[in-house]
Amino acid sequence: MAKAHVTTTVNGDAVEFLCDAEQTLLDVLRDELYLTGSKEGCASGDCGACSVIADGRLVCACLMLGVEAEGLAIETIEGMADGDQLHPLQTKFLEHAALQCGVCTPGFLVAAKSLLERNPDPTEIEVRYWLAGNLCRCTGYDKIVRAVLDTAEEMRGG
Amino acid sequence: MARVVFIGNFRQLAGGDAEAEIAASNVRDLLRRLGERYPALAPHLDEGIALAIDGEIHQDALFSPVRPDSEVCLMPKIAGG
């Protein structure tokens, strides 16, 4: 079967790619566009390591087909910093040591950014439930939650 | 003479002895003499052992010093995750 031709936007740039019908968006990002910041931890939507934002919605890239990206605006971890300026979440994750191995970190950052865009003043419980779809096996989540709450406060101008 | 304590299955290999007095200045001497005294133990002394010399664990350390009044525990090597 011929590959599908897909036109989309990734981190603000117009992108075209060819993909097989069964290739997921995650496969396309990693294997066709070499954007390997999104990780495959499970390929079943359980770990959140491949979290991306598609037209404003937080999704697991492993649960979307590449062809479904047609016409959408996709945001990945690679687009999170603004030039050489880290996003406040990225800075706070570093300050709070909210990562150990770091493989889940891109997914957490993308998911947390999506949370703060919707809710600039989340409670600890809200942070914990919003991030419940992102698995971290190293940190026990403590420092991640603190980093997100601290970022929210800073971004509110607290 | 250093007092050697056999831990775990090393006791079985030492003919049931719980302890032995061995004159040695370092681990290599100590292992050599142990092997001479306990032939059944000898093949096990090359690999897979750890020594606690006065409480401090030494693994693969032939030239670690052993003092005349040292307590040396012969035990299985320890790894970890």
């Binding site: 079943s44 971890i77 | 775990g8 664990i57 035990m75 995750g81």
Partner: protein, 765 residues
């Protein structure tokens, strides 16, 4: 010499104990860091593994012709491609290893011994073609009866995994094979006499389920074997030197012809200390003449990489009415998986380690079953045996109405205590963690109605081992630090801090790198909580080596004797009668003058670090149990642990928090569920449920610092001990909440509901 004046534990430190942003941090928050699966090579093929659908089956034949005929398939590998290796226990970095088993675990030979056991592998132009090729391989299996349970596997009539396995450690040696690979026994004093002194004796039987390390990054590698017999391997591993050794052995290569680079590693916890895909990828690359990339799916990770051993533990503890423990005894039966080598030995040694006991006897059985071969998981073997003992200790405390922390304090091992596993402890911090627990706000805060509080202590040895490090001084006075232990949780930060402290320079001037196997001498893996300790020692040695060179050079430049030069605050200063005679020469000055004055500065160290400091911890947990659903909620959790010295306290806290939460998963939810054919029913994160963010509260930490005298700054390992206490602490808390003692893990909602139901049913008279 002057350099020796640096790095003493007494006195304040400038860098050790601070919390700078980790040097690899930005790469990890921007998606730039390259993990195992993040590399692509030109002309690369995709490798996939065909796995046994049966838990136990004889393999009569493997027909790969249809797979090879498929366009795009470049090569197929089976058992025929690997030379068999004789049964011989040889040193291979981590404990003893039997390459006869390793070669069979990597690719099944006579039999498939667990569901997921590799049977063949293909390399093809795409994943799609590779999958189709796997479906075309015909394997003629003769399905055999299987056994999963450790006790059933020990029965005389049990199906035999290995027809030639004779139990070791038994005199006289048995004449018939069994699934019991080894019996180990640890004895101290006279356990019968000890129990005779007791007023109260409690014995219980416990069980724990196999649990997976659950690293978020699946195993992945790329092998690139060239026609001249040399190869490069990129992989996610805790120890690339160990991978090199195993792969070279399995492929019949010189180690110098195999260069292994450790990628960034997405979690390991002990599970990435062995080889699975790597030798297969190398073989596929050798046969195809192209680079081959292999990754495991999450399902494959669960089916075929090593969990922690499931266990059956019987334990018995005796105590006087005054709260003095008189004797401890235990029998440990540990699942090894398909090949021998469970961590039952350390399990035996750790079981009673927190206590000052005169009489101990522990017997352990290493038992093969039709499950994936177990791998190390954080303090391998200890959580299972200490769960049993710490549960009984709690019950004993309740029996005499003594506070459980008080009871532990009364019996705690301390400096000079003859450890239950033999040696005499040097300075250790158990008493300090218990005192901190007693004084902690958590322990003094009253519980809400219906809640329960539990405490438990835990122990792990920690290790040292072979370790190299290099410091390369750049021409501008900045430094490249090269270490050989993959950084799994922030260790590059801690190594830089130790180097900065020793050299007396700003930590920002040191950039770390994990060197590949050709750039550094043999370095044992990241494991055994050894990295901050042993690589730390190596880095300190390398820094001292560089300081010696710098002082010698300054002496030459000033034309004064070398012993008249001292290294203070990152610069060479004339000392003694020459003091003040010359302007000090900073690191940057000397770097600039290096070329003209004798050449570059490279500090090196190659050591076998001895004298790792054992580590103790005490955990406090409050739980609430939903009587309707059986769900146990962790309301509050505090970890107190002796770190010796916390080099980067944030990452020490992170180890304590992460270990505790892994323990919470082990205690409450995680288990492997098999069907009656021995097939894993929950090989995914949806059904194998590790704790998620909303399952846990903040994890409070208290770092106790009882310095390890063998390390210049007092460092002990910290990574493993935190997973030891949670299971007992939580079981003790649940007992407090419900009045029901759980001896079988996990305390999942169905089990808790069942126990609540059983408790409600009036017992027959």
């Amino acid at each position: 010499m002057a350099a020796n004046s640096h790095g003493k534990t007494n006195g304040s430190t400038r860098w050790v104990g601070t919390r700078p942003v980790r040097p690899d941090g930005v790469d990890k928050v921007t998606g730039r860091a390259r993990f195992g699966a993040d590399v692509h090579l030109p002309n690369m093929l995709v490798g996939k593994v065909l796995r046994s659908p049966h838990a136990h089956a004889r393999i009569h034949s493997i027909d790969t012709s249809a797979a090879l005929a498929l366009p795009g398939v470049k090569t197929v590998v089976t058992r025929d491609d690997f030379n068999d290796l004789p049964s011989e226990f040889v040193p291979a970095g981590e404990m003893l290893i039997n390459y006869r088993d390793v070669v069979r675990n990597v690719m099944a030979r006579e039999k498939a011994l667990f569901e997921g056991h590799p049977v063949a592998a293909v390399a093809a132009v795409s994943e799609k073609v590779a999958r189709e090729a796997l479906a075309r391989i015909k394997v003629d299996y003769e399905v055999l009866p299987h056994v999963l349970d450790v006790v059933e596997a020990m029965a005389p009539e049990a199906p035999l995994l290995h027809e030639d396995l004779i139990t070791a450690g038994v005199e006289p040696a048995p004449t018939t094979p069994s699934n019991v690979a080894k019996v180990v026994e640890f004895k101290l004093g006279d356990v019968e006499a000890g129990f005779a002194e007791a007023d109260i004796v409690i014995e219980r039987e416990f069980s724990t389920q196999p649990v997976h390390q659950g690293y978020i990054e699946p195993h992945a590698c790329i092998a690139n074997y060239s026609e001249d017999g040399q190869a490069e391997l990129w992989c996610t591993t805790q120890g690339h030197f160990v991978v090199r050794g195993h792969c070279a052995k399995l492929l019949g290569m010189d180690v110098s012809k195999l260069r292994v680079t450790a990628s960034e590693i997405g979690g390991g916890f002990g599970g990435k200390t062995v080889v699975y895909l790597e030798p297969v990828a190398l073989m596929l690359s050798r046969k195809s003449g192209q680079p081959v990339k292999m990754t495991m799916s999450r399902e494959e990770v669960f089916q075929a990489s090593g969990p922690a051993a499931g266990t059956r533990v019987w334990a018995k503890v005796g105590m006087t009415n005054a709260g003095r423990i008189t004797a401890g005894e235990a029998v440990l039966k540990y699942q090894a998986g398909a090949f021998q080598g469970s961590p039952v030995q350390p399990g035996c040694m750790c079981a009673f380690a927190p206590y000052d006991l005169a009489h101990v006897k522990v017997v352990g059985y290493d038992v093969v079953v039709n499950r994936p071969k177990v791998a190390a998981y954080r303090a391998p073997g200890a959580p299972q045996s200490e769960f049993a003992v710490e549960s009984i200790i709690d019950e004993l405390a309740k029996r005499i109405g003594m506070d459980p922390v008080e009871l532990r304090l009364k019996n705690a091992a301390k400096e000079g205590t003859k450890a239950a596993y033999g040696p005499t402890f040097g300075p250790v911090g158990l008493v300090e963690t218990l005192e901190e627990a007693k004084a902690h706000d958590h322990y003094r805060t009253p519980l809400k109605p219906g809640q329960g509080r539990g405490v438990a202590s835990g122990f792990w040895f920690n290790i040292g081992g072979e370790t190299c490090a290099t410091l390369n001084l750049g021409e501008d006075g900045t430094i490249a630090l090269v270490a050989g232990t993959p950084d799994i949780g922030g260790s590059r930060a801690s190594l830089c801090l130790q180097a900065a402290e020793t050299l007396g320079v700003d930590v920002e001037r040191i950039r770390p790198l994990i060197g590949d196997t050709s750039t550094l001498g043999y370095t044992f893996l990241t494991g055994g909580s050894r990295t901050a300790f042993a690589s730390g020692m190596a880095v300190i040695e390398a820094a001292r080596d560089m300081i010696r060179q710098l002082c010698e050079r300054a002496a030459k430049i000033w034309d004064i004797p070398v012993d008249a030069v001292e290294w203070i605050d990152g610069e060479a200063r004339p000392a003694g009668s020459n003091a003040g005679e010359f302007e000090p020469l900073s690191l940057a000055d000397l770097a600039r003058l290096a070329g003209k004055s004798g050449g570059p500065f490279v500090g090196r160290a190659q050591i076998n670090a001895q004298g790792a400091g054992p580590s103790f911890g005490t955990h406090i947990v409050d739980v609430d149990v939903d009587r309707e659903t059986g769900r146990v909620t962790i309301e509050r959790y505090t970890v107190i642990q002796d770190a010796g010295k916390a080099v980067h306290p944030s990452y020490v806290e992170g180890q304590l928090q992460g270990g505790a939460v892994q323990g919470i998963g082990w205690a409450l939810n995680e288990e492997y569920i098999y069907d009656d054919k021995g097939r894993l029913q929950n090989p995914g994160f949806l059904d194998y449920r590790i704790p998620v963010c909303s399952d846990v509260p903040m994890i409070d930490t208290v770092i106790v610092e009882v310095p390890n005298p063998t390390h210049p700054y007092g460092v002990r390992g910290v990574g493993e001990t935190p997973i030891v206490p949670p299971m007992a602490a939580i079981a003790n808390a649940v007992e407090g909440a419900l009045g029901l003692r759980f001896t079988d893990l996990p305390m999942s909602p169905p089990r808790v509901l069942k126990a609540l139901g059983d408790a409600r049913v009036p017992k027959a008279a």
